[in-house]
């Protein structure tokens, strides 16, 4: 186990560096942040030069990147369009997005795995076909469509929930947005779990578990599920990235003042430093989450850790 963890951690180092550099590179080398800041107007050369110096844009790219990363690691992300430090915005926005993502993650995991197990155990029967068809439909409706639809139907037409979410959104306020954010992933988790269960249910070791006289429930929870969850856990790690992207959409629809909202504002106001700062932090969270998933993977499957 120890060697596996060390190897994984070592592999992460270049990936961390590479990914953050890539984000930085996309913003600074492929585009011109200063020109973007001014939008369609031609910037005044003096102002442009001042901003360039402020953002260290006159330094070589490598130096710029190091300064940028230094800033992020020391908690200095520059100033947003309204003059407030980006870190301050982040401190406000992050808890909200964290709650939203958590709600979505819990929903897709619990509902997705439950549905997937139910369908996988009935593989080929009517209930299974129904679940498969339903997930197909869910996958086909992009988050921003299902978001507007559910908001319109539940919030406006039927008046079941408040169509917008208050600024200090609590977990219950975030149920509907969380569901919207989770829907597509939920369908994938269901399909993945189903396929995995249907495959594992015919394995020899599950047959052994039955032959041992274990109750059916125990066979499913202790022998079938555990083995079937490995690909699902891997998926959930990668899916966190999708949820982060989806949060931008969901927060816009429900007017939630989270990271996605701030990012969207940053894009609308063409404030590249804000956007890069936020995205870099999100990417770091994503990579860390995937590292965690990898370690979890080794916990779930002992064959990995003894390689």
């Amino acid at each position: 186990m120890g060697r596996y963890v060390v190897r994984r951690l070592l592999q992460m180092v270049p990936v961390f560096a590479g990914t953050t550099f890539l984000v930085f590179f996309m913003a600074h080398a492929l585009g011109d942040p200063v020109a973007a800041l001014f939008g369609d107007r031609a910037p005044d050369p003096a102002t442009a030069a001042r901003i360039r110096a402020e953002l260290h844009l006159d330094e070589p790219l490598g130096t710029q990147y190091l300064l940028h990363m230094g800033g992020i690691l020391t908690g200095d992300l520059g100033t947003a369009f309204n003059g407030r430090p980006v870190t301050e915005l982040m401190a406000e926005a992050f808890p909200v997005t964290l709650r939203l993502t958590l709600v979505a993650l819990v929903m897709e995991t619990v509902v997705g795995i439950a549905l997937g197990v139910a369908a996988g155990l009935r593989c080929g029967r009517r209930a299974d076909t129904a679940v498969l068809a339903a997930t197909l439909l869910l996958i086909s409706v992009p988050t921003f469509v299902s978001g507007h639809l559910l908001q319109y139907l539940l919030g406006v037409e039927w008046n079941l929930v408040a169509p917008a979410v208050p600024t200090d959104a609590s977990l219950t306020d975030l149920l509907l947005p969380g569901l919207v954010l989770a829907l597509v992933s939920l369908a994938y988790v269901t399909r993945l779990t189903r396929a995995s269960i249907a495959e594992n249910v015919r394995t020899d070791h599950v047959r052994t578990a039955v032959a041992k006289g274990l109750p059916r429930r125990r066979v499913v929870t202790h022998h079938l599920l555990r083995n079937s969850l490995v690909p699902v856990v891997t998926f959930l790690g990668a899916d966190l990235g999708v949820l982060m992207g989806g949060a931008v959409v969901t927060e816009r629809i429900f007017n939630i003042h989270g990271v996605g909202f701030q990012l969207h504002q940053g894009v609308l106001r063409q404030n590249t430093p804000t956007v890069v700062g936020f995205v870099t932090v999100l990417v770091l969270v994503f990579l860390l989450a995937n590292l965690l998933v990898d370690l979890l993977y080794a916990v779930l499957d002992p064959r990995i850790r003894h390689v």
């Binding site: 592999q11 992460m12 270049p14 990936v15 590479g18 990914t19 890539l22 984000v23 996309m26 913003a27 492929l30 585009g31 020109a35 080929g124 029967r125 299974d128 996958i139 086909s140 409706v141 992009p142 988050t143 921003f144 469509v145 507007h148 908001q151 319109y152 406006v156 994938y188 993945l192 396929a195 995995s196 249907a198 495959e199 690909p231 891997t234 998926f235 790690g237 990668a238 899916d239 990235g241 999708v242 982060m244 992207g245 989806g246 959409v249 816009r252 940053g266 894009v267 609308l268 590249t272 956007v275 995205v279 999100l282 990417v283 994503f286 990579l287 995937n290 990898d294 993977y297 499957d301």
Partner: protein, 323 residues
């Protein structure tokens, strides 16, 4: 990151990304042909199964229709999507305008039909791009092994580390034009590692086949073994992922356009129209519903196609029992 060496995992599509394959444009027309040296059994079997699968037939018909109207939208429309009159703003359905009007007074039906082009183009181009790049890098990594594999895999991890929407926010907000190619470029740039992982796994599996070992033992050169013996056997999983990913790419384009960093007017895109309509849901839901319906149906058609192709090409899942 997730270690590609560990079991290839069931072929389940991930939402993040687009992935690959040469797109069997409509259906697996190519499956019948099969390049020389390809094991006929798998492909002709798959084609045999596909033709009898109602899911495949329905999705193929839907996709054929989509392709036709995206090439020649004039076939079923008479207006121009830019032919707008503010007097009609948010108007409901009327003769000649079955879907009503947008806020700008444009005909929703015409714009919905014309929107297909951007979606299909981005979906197909991004998928082809991801598939080619991913298969090339992944195939090379799997075939070489050792250091080259480690380096290529880590490079893949780097690009995989940026979720496409977030990458889009960064890249497309600084790139001026918001053209179709910049969206395709973004999806390919951040989407290829997923195909690469699948291609790498498939090549490693194929590499261990006895006849490949035999070919190498008989002195076949590296590149020759890769192209003649390994590639034909590793291509099926890539095609499966590719087919499914067309739908994912289409949804991705619409999402990027929706949040304002994808395609931009005057390009007609469902994402843009939905974004504009979203503020007016209370007053004029039709503005949202039609393009949203068209988008969902399109994604559905490609996902269904992918499902059918996977069922036909993946014997492991076939055994699981299709209804």
């Amino acid at each position: 990151m997730y270690d590609p060496t560990s079991r290839p995992g069931p072929t389940v599509l991930t939402v993040t990304g687009p992935a690959p394959g040469r797109t069997p444009g409509r259906g697996s027309g190519r499956a019948t042909g099969g390049a020389p040296g390809r094991p006929r059994g798998l492909w002709s079997d798959a084609w045999h199964d596909l033709r009898r699968n109602p899911v495949f037939v329905v999705s193929a018909l839907m996709i054929a229709f989509l392709v036709v109207i995206s090439l020649w939208p004039g076939l079923i429309t008479t207006h121009s999507p830019y032919d707008c009159d503010l007097a009609d703003s948010q108007g409901g359905a009327s003769p000649g305008h079955p879907f009503g009007f947008t806020t700008q007074g444009c005909d929703v039906y015409t714009r919905t039909v014309h929107g297909a082009r951007a979606s299909v183009a981005v979906g197909v181009c991004a998928t082809v791009g991801t598939a080619l790049l991913g298969a090339a890098v992944g195939g090379l990594a799997g075939f070489s092994g050792g250091w080259a594999d480690a380096v290529l895999s880590r490079i893949g991890d780097v690009f995989f580390g940026i979720p496409v929407i977030l990458g889009g926010l960064v890249l497309l907000s600084v790139v001026e034009n918001g053209s179709l190619w910049s969206v395709v470029g973004l999806i390919v740039l951040l989407g290829w590692p997923q195909t690469a992982r699948i291609a790498r796994g498939a090549v490693i599996t194929a590499k261990q086949n006895d006849y490949v070992l035999a070919a190498r033992a008989l002195g076949a050169s590296g590149p020759r073994t890769l192209l003649r013996h390994i590639a034909p056997n590793a291509v099926a999983p890539v095609i499966v992922v590719a087919t499914v990913s067309i739908g994912t790419c289409i949804a991705l384009e619409a999402t990027l356009s929706y949040i304002g960093v994808g395609l931009r007017p005057p390009t007609v895109s469902w994402g843009i129209d939905i974004s504009e309509a979203s503020d007016q849901v209370r007053n004029a839901p039709h503005m949202l519903l039609w393009p949203a319906g068209a988008l969902s149906a399109t994604v559905l058609a490609f996902i269904m196609l992918g499902d059918a192709v996977r069922d036909a090409l993946d014997p492991r899942l076939r055994r699981g029992g299709r209804t």
